[in-house]
Assembly symmetry: C2
């Protein structure tokens, strides 16, 4: 059974047929990782409750946690205003990152100037 036709009609895929999926821990709000889905990966994610992606490096479906035990249980899935990005809210078991870090964004902070609203701006 393929992805629901009404959802498929709203998805805007990249040239490779994939849509980026942002993965967020549902209760803490941590952004855990970004992965990629085709229609079938989204279908499996929506119908099984287990986050399932398309691995661009291995060119195969990938049920998060099947190898590592670091399962992502799906809580919510949202499509963005343009239909070209997904947001998964999940319950992450253990580390989301293959390095063992909780998130894929823990290790490499870039030096950035902090922006701020003008202090004496008129409303």
């Amino acid at each position: 059974m393929p992805l629901d036709a009404e959802i498929a009609a709203r998805l805007k895929r990249g040239g490779d047929g994939l849509v980026p999926a942002i993965v967020q821990q549902h209760d803490t709000g941590e952004v855990l990782m970004l992965a990629w889905m085709d229609d079938e990966a989204l279908h499996r994610t929506l119908t099984t409750g287990r986050a399932t992606y398309w691995s661009r490096s291995r060119q195969e479906y990938w049920v998060k946690g099947d190898t590592s035990g670091h399962v992502q249980y799906v809580r919510e899935v949202a499509l963005d205003c343009d239909g070209d990005t997904l947001l998964l809210r999940v319950d992450q078991v253990g580390a989301a990152c293959h390095t063992g870090d909780r998130t894929c964004f823990d290790a490499d902070r870039l030096p950035a100037v902090q922006g701020a609203a003008p202090e004496h701006a008129e409303p």
Copy 2:
């Protein structure tokens, strides 16, 4: 002045030269939107404190809020473990979404089976 060479060497760009940037409200954890950066957009973002993207539809740089007033002041920028995704933590003025919604993921929740850990699983 181009993007710092050491950062540029770690960036893994897609075929179009772009890297996805997840944008998160720094204090609430809300995922606001996903946008795209090339090296120059990342350089401007890191050095000006204003989130700056490459618009794939308009094929031009886009300083978030220049037209709408809905500025994103940069608080932190992180690169993920693979060097192919950015996470921006920002202070978002007003709505992040062009529809007027606070985030680009507010409007379109997809029907999803919720996953759950087995209730009687052994530890």
